[in-house]
């Protein structure tokens, strides 16, 4: 028992090190005004990076990325729920074909798709923001569908039947039984869809046509220049924080549900 506990502690420690160690230089860079090679630590700490970030459109980009993530989650989550339900119950025409279409974004290179669709969007005079959201929602659909399919596969219809014999209409069953029982999976699917919108670069750049400035676009533009290490590091940390907070919220929610069930 003691040996097992020690081994578990060791694995936990290694895992933490695996994730935390790469972050340390990034954090150091974020507050380093000067860090010449081959120094092991920054030669001068400071807030040059912060000042540069504040002068740029980073705050606006943060709002754009959040909006993009939320919009993609709002579209791809319900669509994934419906697609997964149809595929699980088998109430869909040509299920293999439908499945192939839904999961196609996983195998098609985003770059090629974005370039092709960019032309189409321009010719049809579709709003570039709308087009980016729509394309990213389609890109997120395989993830939401996959998560919800697993959830529906594991879902016990006995609960629905029991609820119906207790006088619950189909609507009441959906709201009072299915939704709460599937909530952990739905929140997981929404989180993944949010990440697709939040972290996208290629589609936002090509289809957005430079008008949609999200956080990854700003980070990439700084990264492509020279001498911007500190602002790139700072924005990278800013880009990681919201998903991490969201993940903690989702994990806590799922944990509570897990403990209840």
């Amino acid at each position: 028992m003691i040996r097992q506990a020690r081994a578990a502690r060791l694995v936990r420690g290694l895992l933490i090190a695996w994730f935390v160690l790469p972050v340390i230089p990034v954090v150091l860079w974020a507050f380093a005004n000067r860090w010449p090679f081959p120094d092991r630590l920054p030669a001068q700490f400071g807030f040059d990076g912060v000042r540069t970030a504040l002068r740029s459109d980073a705050a606006h980009a943060l709002v754009v990325s959040t909006g993009l993530g939320l919009a993609v989650a709002l579209l791809a989550t319900p669509a994934g729920i419906l697609a997964a339900r149809a595929l699980t119950t088998g109430k869909v025409f040509a299920p293999r074909l439908v499945q192939a279409v839904i999961f196609a974004p996983l195998v098609l290179p985003a770059f090629a798709v974005a370039l092709g669709l960019d032309v189409l969007v321009l010719r049809l005079h579709i709003s570039s923001t709308l087009a980016v959201v729509a394309i990213l929602a389609v890109a997120a659909l395989p993830y939401t569908t996959s998560v919800m399919r697993l959830a529906f596969g594991a879902y016990d219809v006995g609960y629905d039947e029991e609820a119906r014999t207790l006088g619950a209409s189909r609507w009441v069953v959906a709201v009072r039984v299915q939704l709460p029982l599937l909530a952990p999976a739905i929140s997981g699917a929404a989180f993944l869809a949010f990440l697709v919108g939040w972290s996208d670069y290629v589609v936002t750049l090509l289809v957005g046509g430079g008008r949609l400035i999200s956080l990854p676009i700003i980070v990439a533009s700084f990264a492509s220049g020279t001498g911007n290490h500190s602002v790139v590091a700072l924005l990278s940390i800013v880009a990681v924080l919201p998903p991490l907070i969201l993940l903690a919220v989702v994990a806590r929610f799922r944990g509570r549900r897990g403990a209840q069930s």
């Binding site: 016990d156 029991e162 119906r164 014999t165 207790l166 006088g167 619950a168 009072r176 209840q260 069930s261």
Partner: protein, 351 residues
């Protein structure tokens, strides 16, 4: 607690044929359960008894036939509007709700406020003796407690008919006995019409006052408990009711003729002439000293049956199983007299 009489249930020519199945799961079953009665649907696995319950509850649609509850044809009525309560083998308590809110579910679904529905639910939790678990998470209670809560939840919906689908088969024997007692208490208190599916004849006897036996989707027997034991309609029913003795022979002139000799049989036996199987209950036959009976038998096997012993005696090719009183002692190979009272005899068709 309301003691209003609830309507009974009846099914006519009820049939269900599933796609790709070679024979119907349920085939032309006609059955009536009186108001306030408790009917056990007994049958082996795959006999269609759970299908029958799902058709009565409205969770499945019949291919043919009608379901009436309280005289009203509900065949086309959805499950949520039929007024049936169902308790499955698994308690299926909603994991996101507390014990109390599980029982309050029906009232909440009907639009009652949280407070009113909880107040009503608490009374039903008390009825099944788990009122102290009200605030617990439904995941934090034992299997027996969960099944009590499931029963309270079904009763709280004030169903016209309570359907029980092998609700105690996952419980150990001590808990099962407690649940039988609980069901008797519930019947005394709220008097619901009950249809209970089981494959266990002992359970059927413990909770029901009538038994219907389904074999391969067809209704083979329907009667009170005593008749089901002593006068089964078919050999399959005799076996399902735990009967152990079958003696092949022929019926002629009001008697069954076999190696046991010529034994007069009741006049209402379904076989009046020709081949027939004499079926006997091991509880209804007895042994005595060899010279005190007309039938002499050799003891060929002895086995323990609780505090009693169960012996098998042979008369020619015929084998008869007899339950012995605890104070009777016999040894294997000895010769005994076999007493088969006229009222214990019954003849059914060979399969």
């Amino acid at each position: 607690m309301s003691t209003a009489r609830v309507p009974g249930v009846s099914v006519t020519d009820l049939s269900r044929q599933y796609d790709n199945a070679s024979r119907p799961a349920l085939d032309g079953v006609t059955l009536e359960v009186a108001v306030g009665a408790s009917m056990a649907l007994l049958g082996p696995s795959g006999s269609g008894k759970s299908t029958a319950l799902r058709l009565i509850s409205g969770l499945d649609e019949p291919t043919r036939g009608t379901v009436r509850i309280g005289g009203r044809d509900v065949t086309a009525t959805p499950a949520e509007s039929r007024g049936v309560g169902m308790v499955f083998q698994r308690p299926l308590l909603f994991p996101h709700l507390s014990v109390l809110d599980n029982v309050a579910f029906a009232a909440r679904a009907a639009g009652l406020s949280r407070r009113d529905s909880r107040r009503d639910a608490a009374r039903y939790l008390d009825l099944v003796h788990v009122g102290d678990l009200a605030d617990r998470s439904s995941a934090a209670i034992s299997g027996g407690q969960a099944q009590r809560v499931a029963i309270a939840r079904a009763l709280a919906a004030k169903p016209a008919v309570l359907l029980l689908d092998e609700p105690f088969s996952a419980l150990d024997s001590v808990l099962r006995t407690e649940m039988y007692r609980l069901l008797r208490e519930i019947r005394a208190e709220v008097d619901p019409t009950i249809v209970m599916v089981t494959h266990d004849q002992a359970e059927a006897v413990a909770v029901a006052d009538r038994i219907a036996v389904l074999i391969d989707g067809a209704l083979e027997h329907e009667s009170d408990l005593a008749t089901a034991y002593s006068r089964p309609s078919t050999l399959a029913v005799h076996r399902l009711m735990g009967g152990l003795t079958e003696v092949a022979g022929t019926v002629a002139q009001g008697a069954h003729h076999s190696d046991l000799g010529s034994l007069p049989i009741p006049a209402d036996c379904p076989i009046s002439e020709g081949p027939g199987v004499l079926v006997l209950r091991h509880e209804s036959v007895s042994i005595c000293l060899a010279h005190d009976a007309t039938i002499s038998a050799a003891v060929v096997a002895i086995e323990a049956a609780g505090v009693r012993r169960r012996i098998t005696v042979a008369v020619g090719a015929a084998r008869v199983v007899v339950d012995l009183a605890p104070d009777i002692d016999v040894s294997s190979g000895s010769t005994v007299g076999l007493i088969i009272p006229p009222s214990a005899r019954w003849v059914v068709q060979r399969l």
